[in-house]
């Protein structure tokens, strides 16, 4: 065997096997890691406000609530209850 073949067989093949096993073990975690929340770590992402699809919510009256969700809305709804918590 030439030097190139020796290196390929004794370094390349074991390296490939190690890479396959490592990607199987850590690959999924590495893909999901940036988005995983860790308690105590800062949350550097943009604030997001999620609302349900307007068609899914039954709204009384002819005027659906959708326009009230637009930015710069002038209507004010006072909060009356709820709960709070910290972890």
């Amino acid at each position: 065997m030439s030097i190139v073949e020796t290196v390929l067989v004794f370094v390349g093949i074991p390296g490939a096997i190690i890479a396959v096993i490592a990607s199987g073990v850590y690959g999924k975690a590495m893909l999901h890691q940036p988005n995983r929340y860790r308690p105590g770590r800062p949350w550097p992402y943009t604030a997001a406000w999620f609302v349900p699809h307007p068609d899914a919510v039954l709204q009384p009256g002819p005027d659906p609530a959708r326009p009230q969700l637009e930015r710069g809305s002038t209507s004010v709804t006072t909060a009356t209850g709820g709960a709070s918590g910290e972890w």
Binding site: H32, P34, N35, R36, Y37, R38, P39, G40, P42, W43, P44, Y45, T46, A47, A48, W49, F50, V51, P52, H53, A56, V57, L58, A65, Q68, L69, R71, G72, S73, S75, V76, T77, T78, A79, T80, G81, G82, A83, S84, G85, E86, W87
Partner: protein
């Protein structure tokens, strides 16, 4: 009620699924779960649930209530500040009739348990389901 808390509209994004995946800190699968839970709980209960995930300026409760002022009477806001480890559930005049504070506190407790384990999406989905179940069907 809003106090000194001011909501900067530039830092708020609307929509069940954001345009820029990853900017919210959620994966596409997590966003799908969240969207599904939001839609189902809102459809079943008739209340409009909404979820805010992001920074809440102190006092966090006042900021959450300031956010709620843009919603309707029948809305329920779940505001979570992962950085400050705070969760607030805010109900309005309409939704408070169906969701007493005790039910909200129970949902907040379950959400806190999930958040402590680092499961942000799971906590939100659990909270939405519990609140929807407490409110009952229309």
């Amino acid at each position: 009620m809003s106090g000194d808390a001011r909501v900067d509209p530039n830092h708020v994004q609307y929509g069940p699924i954001g345009h820029d995946l990853g900017a919210h800190g959620f994966t596409a699968r997590q966003l799908t779960r969240l969207d599904e839970a939001l839609t189902l709980s809102s459809r079943e209960s008739g209340l409009m649930f909404s979820v805010y995930v992001g920074e809440l300026k102190p006092p966090t409760r006042a900021h959450a209530e300031a956010l709620f002022e843009r919603l309707t009477d029948d809305a329920v806001l779940l505001a979570v500040a992962p950085g400050q480890r705070a969760v607030h559930i805010v109900t309005g005049p309409g939704s408070a009739k169906r969701l007493p504070n005790r039910a909200c506190a129970l949902a907040a407790l379950a959400m806190r348990a999930a958040f402590t384990n680092g499961d942000l999406t799971g906590g939100l989905v659990t909270g939405l389901r519990m609140l929807s179940d407490s409110a009952g069907r229309i």
